[in-house]
Amino acid sequence: MQQNKLLPMTAIAFALSCSQSAHALNIHGFASQGFSYSEGNNWFGKSDGKLSTDNTQLGVSMFDQINPNLSLAAQGLIQKTSSDNAEASLDYLRANYHLYRNQQGDTVNLVLGRIKNNIGLYNSSRDVPSAHDFTLLPQSIYIDRNRELLLSSDGVGISYSKMSNQWNHQVNLQGGCPNLSSDKVRIGLLTESIKGDLSCKPSFNIQYMAEDMNHGYKLGLSYVKATMEFSSDMPGIEDGSIMIDYWVASAQKAYEQLTLTAEYGLRHMRYHNFGAYFNDYVLPATDFWSQSTYLQAEYAFTSHLRAYARYDVYYTNKADKSGDQAQAFYSGTQGIPNHYFYSKMQTLGLAHNLTENWLLKAEYKRIDGRAVLPYVDNTATGSEAITDLYVLTAHYLF
């Protein structure tokens, strides 16, 4: 995918539309500040045993309906979620073109630009505080250490929406390249010590979602295929390729006040041609399946006060759920214990719309295992298996 050409073209089109069109440009956004305290390991900065304020976010979105068939939308995002510096990013920049519709309401749309990936129920809106009540999305499926890899792609997409008597059906298909500019992607896929550059080969994402709005059912299946080439800067590590196939099945049932959600994910990871040293010393497996799932209950006491509870679990390699084989692999070199290869999490949370614009959230999470812990702020050889995390966040919506 010509990501270097597509994105500037869309940006220019957007800039021209803003300067020439007589439409009122719609601008809205959110600002968030979080306060975190943890015991065991760090999350949102150096929070272990002390209060951390390294959880700040500002998002500004724009939408312009150029003509009945064409709209442009963009969002800029500034985020600081660790003791590292804040990062500014173009979250999405998309031109939507309405290709087809019929009298029954069935539609086909074409999308061009930087497009959020449709994975599960929450990936596309993971950073939007008012789109869900959670401080952290279920880390089993929406693991933050892979956020940059999974968030969006520069490319082209097509969506098809069909209305039937009971169910709405939606299919989204998009092809392009994930944004690999962040060093976090390389660290997440190859560990901190393996230096080099990742480049993208055409990848794609497809999602099918069915929804029965009258009875509150939502069922979905998402698939991502991403392929990357690695150009090594290290002697002994050869240029190789990484292939990821990620499947997520989603189910949700909403009653008036109660919402039950479950998602199940399988991720096939394959590393090719990195050489004998990589295979023998860097990763315990070069062809394996990660497995993840969660169960979640949300309850609305009122429309303004809501609570949730969740249990989720993530196994880096489902053929080695205990992590014992990986521990044995590293015993002669880095001495990494087995709890680096799974995470089991229990979460309780509250969300309260304080006023029209202010939203408060509180979350407690107990994490057994280090597989989903952020890389930044946690040393590669930390030994604590259990993390207790308390987060309070205030969000202003405008």
């Binding site: 979105s61 068939n69 309401g105 809106s125």
Partner: protein
């Protein structure tokens, strides 16, 4: 005695529903005069984003804490308002759908719907008056 209590409850329920009744309004350029409940829900949840004549749908809503907005959400859409808000946030902050236009009063609602092609909103039944360029929607059952 039971019959009296039942009648009283029924009467109170009817009075309540009359006092809280809401009416869907659309801009006349939508060419729509009747909508069934399922379509109304699909429109306000932005699953349907175009009118049959091709004009994009613009949702106009009162601020989230307004009693009329809460009553509309519960009585017409049969959901608590937070479900609407989270859906609108998800779709607008991902660039998928046009952001909802928020208004502070019914008079502003009438003004915006009247002047915006493709707009759909709601008002209190009591304030239903003849307005230029606005169509009051009659609701079907399905």
């Amino acid at each position: 005695m039971r019959l009296r209590l039942f009648s009283l409850a029924l009467l109170m329920g009817l009075l309540g529903s009359i006092a809280q009744a809401q009416t869907i309004i659309v801009n006349a350029e939508t060419d729509v005069t009747q909508l069934d409940n399922r379509t109304i829900k699909s429109l306000f949840f932005q699953r349907v984003r175009y009118w049959p004549n091709g004009i994009p749908v613009t949702i106009v809503a009162l601020e989230r804490t307004t009693p009329l907005h809460e009553e509309f959400s519960k009585n017409i859409l049969k959901v608590l308002p937070f479900r609407l808000e989270s859906t609108w946030s998800k779709l607008s902050f991902t660039g998928v759908a046009k952001p909802v236009v928020r208004v502070n009063s019914v008079s502003e609602m009438l003004s915006i719907v009247s002047s915006t092609p493709g707009a759909i909103g709601y008002i209190d039944e009591e304030t239903k008056t003849s307005e230029p360029n606005i169509v009051f929607i009659s609701r079907g059952e399905s």
